[in-house]
């Protein structure tokens, strides 16, 4: 199945609208607000952990369970967010204009830079401090999961076939009923696919969010992430190995017990069946479906669900739809404009106050230069990864039996949090005395390169047999074959994968540009390292500056490079 493109790609030409400007302003305002609030709250929170994390492997199952629980709670919150935010954006024209750019900017905000700010904020909000740290970790995981799910759901809601919408209107389904009967089922396959991606992506942040130090406060939550952090400080390579092994097991269980069955189950919601693709299967789902016990157990829930589904909530009064009169419509517009203006003013005030307080023009230039350094790293890395994975992906994708083997492995590797491998890499750099400016860089793309691979595999597999036969028939070989057949055919898929990889790499730079092994600290010149160091120092003003500049880079690249490239590839090279 193909990924949906993770950025907003509406329309040529307008690459930055006033709604984008407003979205940037609002997010910046919120960041500043949180940072300011947190700064005043920050006090020594020395002995947070009542029970310190230990490196005893026997504790790992418990840690893994705790980590997993955090991720599941975050996933539930992300679903809630998706169903409300994306639905509002898709159904309300006024809301849509602001909510979509807001989401687009939000997903470019580096989550890792965010954690430090939210940790302090949540810890002071919560009654018990441990609970606050838990909230902060869950929130960090949530921010790594929610945006792309909401985006996918929004895009699905926008493409529900007109006839289905008309059926639900014609048979007068209540909004509640048509949401669960029409909208959610239609969006389900794409949503589940994005949930899987979100889950994969969030492993990365789990590791980073369980053990975090802000200023002189160190917060450690029992979990796999803090276990790894401890192993790194204690230079315990064996412990790192145990952690990696545990992760692999957990990811495998997740895949087999949760996502495979979900994917197999959601196949029935596929609106268009791709011919020749066998339906996904799952042994787990088969077991659940055939078991009488499970049947009996779920029956009451199924009944309850049906009651809920048929509940006549949100019913339109008779006569149902009233078209607002011009004057009424104008009034709604005025109200809406007023709300937006107030929000914008508050955000603007926050940002202005903040900028004048502690940021000098020199700071900004410096951070922009750091951003350029990270940017050039990412450009080189994406280029290198493309040169390596595109040919391999095409080779694999055009051989179905190989693709069936490689595809799940690539997905597993994408789910695997690359930062647990950092200790291995860092010790190698230290031992071999390599330049961290160069050799730390590959860590940024370690986890995200797989998106390029499995998208290209999917694209190559989708080349129609007839087109390949033409190639054989006319003896199109070698470079000509790549230039005329393979590369154009996979381009739309490649672009989608590369956008995901590039966005992910920016985020990863915050943990990849600084790395340590025991008391050995490595640091590369770049924006990621800057944010990480400011976080350690508890310097909120400069964290916000770093985050803002990084978001700025990501949005700018998306708008002036990826979006046009995506639209071009879609228009020119989309098959069928």
């Amino acid at each position: 199945m193909r990924l949906n493109v993770p950025i907003s790609v509406g329309g040529w030409g307008r690459f930055f609208t006033r709604w984008d400007v407003l979205a940037v302003l609002l997010i910046l305002g919120l960041l500043v607000f949180l940072a300011e609030a947190s700064r005043h709250l920050l006090q020594p929170l020395a002995d947070l952990q009542r029970r310190p994390v230990s490196l005893n492997p026997a504790n790992l199952p418990e840690y893994a369970a705790r980590t997993t629980l955090r991720m599941l709670i975050a996933m539930a919150l992300s679903l809630l967010f998706t169903f409300t935010y994306a639905t509002l954006a898709a159904k309300n024209k006024y809301a849509e204009r602001l909510l979509v750019p807001l989401l687009d900017i939000l997903q470019s905000v580096p989550i890792l830079g965010f954690i430090s700010i939210t940790v302090v904020f949540f810890m002071e909000l919560a009654p018990g401090r441990v609970l606050g740290a838990e909230f902060a970790a869950i929130f960090a995981i949530f921010t790594s999961q929610a945006w792309n799910m909401a985006f996918s759901f929004y895009q699905s809601l926008r493409t529900v076939p007109t006839e289905l919408v008309e059926v639900s209107q014609n048979f007068r389904l209540s909004p509640w009923m048509s949401f669960w009967r029409v909208d959610v089922p239609f969006a389900m396959p794409q949503l589940i696919w994005n949930m899987m991606l979100s889950m994969s992506g969030s492993w990365f942040f789990v590791v980073a969010s369980e053990a975090i130090s802000v200023g002189n406060t160190t917060i450690t939550l029992p979990g796999v992430g803090s276990y790894i952090a401890l192993a790194i400080t204690q230079r315990d390579l064996a412990a790192v190995g145990y952690a990696i092994f545990t992760m692999a097991i957990v990811i495998l269980i997740y895949d087999q017990v949760l996502f495979r069955p979900l994917v197999a189950w959601a196949d029935r919601f596929r609106f268009e069946q791709e011919p020749g693709v066998p339906p996904p299967r799952s042994w787990m789902l088969d077991v659940l479906r055939r078991s009488r016990f499970v049947d009996r157990l779920t029956l009451p829930f199924a009944k309850l669900w049906r009651r809920l589904l048929l509940a006549r909530w949100g019913e339109r009064a008779e006569p149902a739809k009233r078209v607002p009169r011009p004057r009424q419509r104008a009034w709604i517009t005025v109200q809406w404009a007023a709300v937006v203006a107030v929000l914008a003013a508050v955000a603007l005030w926050q940002v202005a106050h903040f900028v004048t307080a502690d940021i000098s023009p020199g700071d900004i230039t410096n951070v922009l230069l750091l951003g350029l350094a990270t940017f050039s790293r990412i450009v080189v890395l994406i280029a290198v990864a493309s040169v390596i994975w595109v040919p391999i992906g095409v080779w694999v994708g055009t051989r179905p039996h190989v693709a069936n083997l490689v595809q799940p492995i690539a997905q597993f590797l994408a789910a695997f949090p690359a930062n647990v491998l950092f200790p291995v890499a860092v010790s190698a750099i230290v031992v071999l005395r390599l330049d961290p400016n160069i050799w730390l860089s590959p860590l940024m793309i370690l986890g995200t390169q797989w998106y390029i691979l499995f998208n290209v595999v999917a694209g190559a597999a989708a080349i129609p047999a007839e087109l390949r036969a033409v190639g054989v028939n006319f003896r199109v070989r070698g470079w000509l074959w790549w230039r005329r057949i393979a590369l154009p055919a996979v381009l739309p898929y490649y672009v989608t994968g590369a956008i995901t990889a590039s966005g992910g790499s920016w985020n990863a730079s915050i943990v990849a540009e600084v790395a340590s092994w025991g008391d050995e600290h490595l640091r590369a010149y770049g924006l990621g390292a800057y944010i990480a160091e400011r976080t350690d120092a508890g310097d909120f003003h400069h964290i916000v500056l770093g985050i803002a500049v990084m978001s700025f880079f990501v949005v700018l690249i998306n708008r002036i490079f990826w979006r046009p490239l995506y639209l071009y590839a879609e228009r020119k090279f989309r098959l069928g």
Binding site: P161, E163, L164, E166, V167, Q169, N170, F171, R172, L173, S174, M177, R181, V182, P185, M188, R268, F269, R270, F271, Q273, L310, R312, R316, P319, A320, K321, R322, V323, K572
Partner: protein
């Protein structure tokens, strides 16, 4: 309005908002009544607004002006008692046959037992017994549309709206479904009181309807009402049936004065820059000209016979005939199509000769092509962006119509080598690649 009137439409007008903020008139001056026990057909070409009318009746589009009254109540939102059958079936792939049929009843909030009873009865009536637990993808097209019918009938609507319900089916399946439907209707087994059927198939209209309303385009309006007084069950081979089909062909191809287009003199018949051009390729035009020139037609054919023998649907045939007439390569009169002298010249010419002749006709009779060429000639580099013409046309027609019109004129100009178009840069130019 008599007591038996189910639906009463007065001076209905529907407009869509246009890109420039203006309005596009889709339906104008529609008056019609549906009486109990009647099947009324809405017959017209694509784009004549008949589907828009059906959706207005279904309450999916509130009227821009005029009124739709159903049993004395104005229709501004989906009304209970009006159910619809869709062209593309519109079944939910994630619901079984039974669940699809139950949907409308669930929305009514009926008790579970009754929902089940009524759904099973509808499934039984429509001949879907044994398919209750199947998913739509497991069914053939005909069976899927039966589910569409069962889903509509199960809510016991007073009015059944059918939007080209048989056009996505193959000929044999469509005929079976029509016959089954008419049989149930004739026996009074259907829980409905009146039917409105949208179709572009003339024979289907004559076979099924008590009254047929003929639609014309731009804006969509009723040009004629024809009562069908043939005894049921009707036979396609009946001379009376054949005569009526012929009569409708004549009515549908008769030259009606083109409605005034903004910026032109009212009442002119000629094509203007703002005319929506049919999507017909030069290949199809030559194909039909050759067919017409050859025996058995020898330059003249009866349209119903031509449609039948060449396996062309009315929706395919009429645009081709229109285009030929526009290029003055053929003439249509009294339900016949006749080759002109130029048309014969075209058939006899070789490829280059055909292209030259086609270019002359294109530039003379399709003002848009002459306009584009003139603009290109006036510009120093002989290049103009597509958007320039797109914006110009968009003031007078819907975005889809602009797309179609520009595609058509581009395709014709390419064949005629009148000017070139580069899709990468989206520009027209006078230079063909050398």
């Amino acid at each position: 309005m008599s007591a038996s009137t189910l639906l009463d439409i007065q001076a209905l007008r529907q407009t869509f908002p246009r890109a420039d903020g203006g309005e596009l008139l889709v339906l104008d001056g529609i008056d019609l009544q549906l009486a109990q026990g009647q099947i009324v057909g809405l017959l017209g070409r694509t784009g004549s607004g008949k589907s828009t009318l059906l959706r207005s009746i279904a309450g999916l589009m509130p009227p821009s002006a005029g009124s739709i009254t159903y049993l004395g109540q104005p229709v501004v939102a989906p009304a209970p008692g009006i159910a619809m059958v869709f062209q593309g079936f519109a079944l939910f792939p994630w619901l079984t046959v039974l669940e699809n049929v139950q949907l409308g009843l669930e929305a009514l909030g009926l008790p579970d037992a009754e929902i089940r009873k009524r759904a099973l009865a509808a499934i039984d009536l429509i001949g879907l017994d044994g398919y209750e637990s199947a998913y739509p993808r497991e069914l053939s097209g005909g069976m899927r549309q039966r589910v569409g019918f069962a889903r509509a009938l199960v809510v016991h609507p007073n009015i059944l709206l059918m939007d080209e319900p048989f056009s996505a089916l193959d000929v044999l399946t469509a005929e079976t479904l029509r016959t089954d439907f008419l049989e149930l209707w004739g026996d009074g087994k259907l829980p409905i009181k009146g039917v409105m059927l949208v179709t572009h198939n003339i024979e289907e209209a004559v076979l099924m309807c008590d009254r047929i309303l003929l639609f014309a385009s731009n804006p969509g309006r009723i040009i004629r009402e024809i009562a069908v007084d043939i005894k049921r069950p009707r036979n396609r081979l009946d001379p009376q049936f054949h005569d009526l089909v012929e009569k409708i062909y004549v009515a549908m191809t008769a030259r009606t004065p083109t409605p005034p287009v903004i910026g032109t003199t009212p009442g002119t018949v000629a094509t203007t820059i703002n005319t929506i051009l049919p999507r017909v390729s030069a290949n199809i035009l030559s194909g039909l000209l050759e067919t017409l020139a050859a025996p058995p037609y020898d330059g003249k054919a009866d349209l119903p016979i031509l449609a039948d023998e060449q396996h062309l649907e009315v929706d395919d045939l009429f645009p081709i005939a229109d285009a030929l007439q526009m290029f003055h390569l053929a003439e249509i009169e009294g339900g016949d199509i006749k080759l002109t002298d130029l048309g014969r010249q075209f058939v006899d010419a070789d490829t280059d000769g055909r292209k030259r002749l086609f270019q002359r006709q294109l530039l003379s009779y399709v003002p848009l092509s002459a306009h584009i060429r003139r603009v290109l000639q006036d510009r120093a580099n002989h290049v103009a962006p597509r958007s320039r013409f797109f914006d110009e046309l968009e003031d007078h027609m819907s975005t889809e119509d602009v797309e179609q019109t520009l595609r058509s004129v581009t395709a014709w100009a390419r064949y005629a080598e009148a000017f070139a178009y580069d899709d990468d840069s989206q520009t027209f130019s006078l230079e063909n690649p050398t």
